[in-house]
């Protein structure tokens, strides 16, 4: 289990206790944070876009395919990640994220 701090699209802060076994996208989608996850975790739709705290970027780098998807997003930033590619089986204790604006 990891405790993750989430800032939603209205700027409100939440602390989530997330169990291992799924992806961060599924956890955020199921708790109605507004991410779509249209492609179901294939890193190709960009609809689960989040921003992560800069200090976590080195520990959680995006692979080539994910980086390419992010590049095509309107709201892409240097600290963008796709939450479907973040596995809750790893230690994410203290991770801080915010939900990116939807593309449409």
């Amino acid at each position: 289990m990891s405790r993750i701090n989430v800032i939603d699209r209205d700027g409100k802060k939440h602390q989530l206790k997330l169990e291992a076994g799924t992806s961060l996208m599924e956890a955020l989608r199921d708790q109605n944070f507004g991410v779509d996850g249209t492609c179901g975790g294939a890193a190709c739709c960009g609809s689960c876009h989040i921003f992560i705290e800069e200090s976590w970027l080195q520990k959680l780098p995006a692979d080539e395919i994910e980086a390419m998807t992010i590049e095509g997003l309107v709201h892409a930033e240097a600290n963008s990640r796709l939450s479907c590619q973040i596995d809750l089986n790893q230690d994410l204790e203290g991770l801080k994220i915010s939900i990116a604006p939807p593309e449409i």
């Binding site: 989608r29 199921d30 179901g40 190709c44 739709c45 095509g72 309107v74 939807p102 593309e103 449409i104």
Partner: protein, 407 residues
């Protein structure tokens, strides 16, 4: 039809007009074999359909969609037919990965939102402003025009050709009643048009001309591992975009308007709060999503949903039935705004074959709904709604006679 309803009967017009009660009859049983349906691009009367398993439950549909090693998207029937094979939709790894990477680099949300959306907003506003007769058949005059015109803009072909795109898409997707000869001729005209358009672009490129930045030229230029698409692949990508984009979204727009007419309280809610547009679209996609099913072919024997599916068997994934599976969506036949698990609907597919054009569909619907809210005070139904019965691929309206009471 009685309670002995079987998957083989899914193709009758009385089912196509509203298949949902029939999905309910099949969903509680084990998957059935024997659906004789026509995938997109095939020609009833010329091609011979293969019997297929019909997967109706959410759990079975997602399991098959996720497992693209076993459930192949290659369509031997379409490959053998005279119609052009669709890009991505009908490819498996590793070819699918190469094509998907190139498509993703060229067909980005940024291109849709920044290049096409502002034009779309202006175009829809003009369509409402030029309405001289407020009594109209929405499907003939509005719904068909928006996606086809947007597709010309996105791809970069003359906007005046939008009507051609609509007709070609309609014939290709086996939705309307065309004869085999008409459908074949339409598919040939579609291929010839894009071969000429793409060829002209390559000639301009060879002549050193500056090419405009549009999706067609982006597909020509984009590289993956140092290689670009062949000219023929660019043509087939354009064809795929047209048949996928100029057809399904027409029905999406129609289904959105039907809901606003049938449930005027929702129209009022959107008038008062436009932040409800997105959840309204999502719930429409779930409950009334146009695309009903797509096919896969099994590459090995597998046990799924309580049945043994053999290597080589065809399988129909009924996304629309999964979207109304009561074990996932409570009161699935009701239209519930801000439904808790709405993001789990499957209308755009699931996994690597999810619809790349979902951003386009949502953008078009968003601009259309905002256009209605800007210009229309009331929507009245002036005659009976007629639903399409030509084929099971899409759930949608053929005639929607309405009166827009303008503001």
């Amino acid at each position: 039809m009685n309670s002995e309803f079987t998957a083989k009967q899914l193709l009758s017009p009385e089912v196509i007009v509203n298949p949902y009660p029939y999905y309910d009859k099949l969903r509680d049983k084990k998957p059935q074999f024997g659906l004789m349906d026509f995938p997109p691009g095939t020609i009833p009367g010329a091609d011979q359909p293969h019997p297929a398993w019909a997967l109706m439950r959410y759990q079975d549909v997602t399991a098959a969609a996720r497992n693209n090693e076993v459930f192949s998207s290659r369509d031997p029937m379409q490959e053998a037919s005279t119609a052009p094979t669709l890009m991505l939709v009908n490819h498996d790894k590793p070819e699918h990965t190469r094509l998907r990477v190139i498509a993703q680099k060229a067909f980005t949300p940024k291109r849709v939102i920044e290049d096409v959306a502002p034009w779309a907003e202006k175009t829809i506003a003009e369509m409402f402003q030029r309405l001289s007769d407020v009594n109209l058949d929405f499907m003939d005059s509005f719904a068909v025009e928006i996606p086809a015109r947007f597709m010309t803009r996105l791809i970069g072909t003359p906007e005046k050709d939008w009507q051609l795109l609509r007709n070609w898409g309609n014939a290709f997707m086996v939705t309307s009643d065309y004869t085999a000869a008409e459908r074949k001729a339409s598919n040939e005209a579609l291929a010839a048009y894009y071969m000429a358009q793409v060829n002209q672009c390559y000639q301009d490129l060879a002549a050193g001309k500056t090419l405009p930045d549009n999706l067609m030229t982006a597909l020509m230029r984009t590289e993956y591992e140092g290689e670009t698409l062949t000219q023929e692949e660019v043509v087939r990508f354009c064809i795929t975009l047209v048949v996928a984009g100029a057809e399904t979204t027409v029905y999406f727009l129609g289904n959105l308007l039907v809901t606003l007419i049938e449930q005027p309280e929702l129209f009022k809610a959107l008038q008062e709060d436009r932040s409800l547009i997105r959840p309204f679209m999502d719930e429409s996609l779930r409950r009334d999503g146009p695309v009903q099913r797509l096919f896969r072919v099994c590459t090995q024997d597998i046990h799924l949903g309580g049945v043994d599916i053999k290597q080589g068997d065809w399988v129909a994934l009924f996304f629309a039935s999964a979207n109304r599976d009561p074990s996932v969506f409570e009161n699935p036949n009701e239209f519930i705004l801000n439904r808790k698990n709405i993001k789990q609907h499957l209308t755009f597919g699931h996994g690597v074959h999810h619809c790349m054009g979902s951003v386009v569909a949502r953008m078009e619907a968003d601009k259309f709904l905002n256009g209605i809210l800007d210009h229309v005070a009331e929507i009245q139904l002036t005659s009976e709604i007629k639903r399409q019965t030509g084929g099971l691929l899409n759930y949608g309206v053929e005639h929607l006679p309405v009166r827009f009471v303008l503001k």
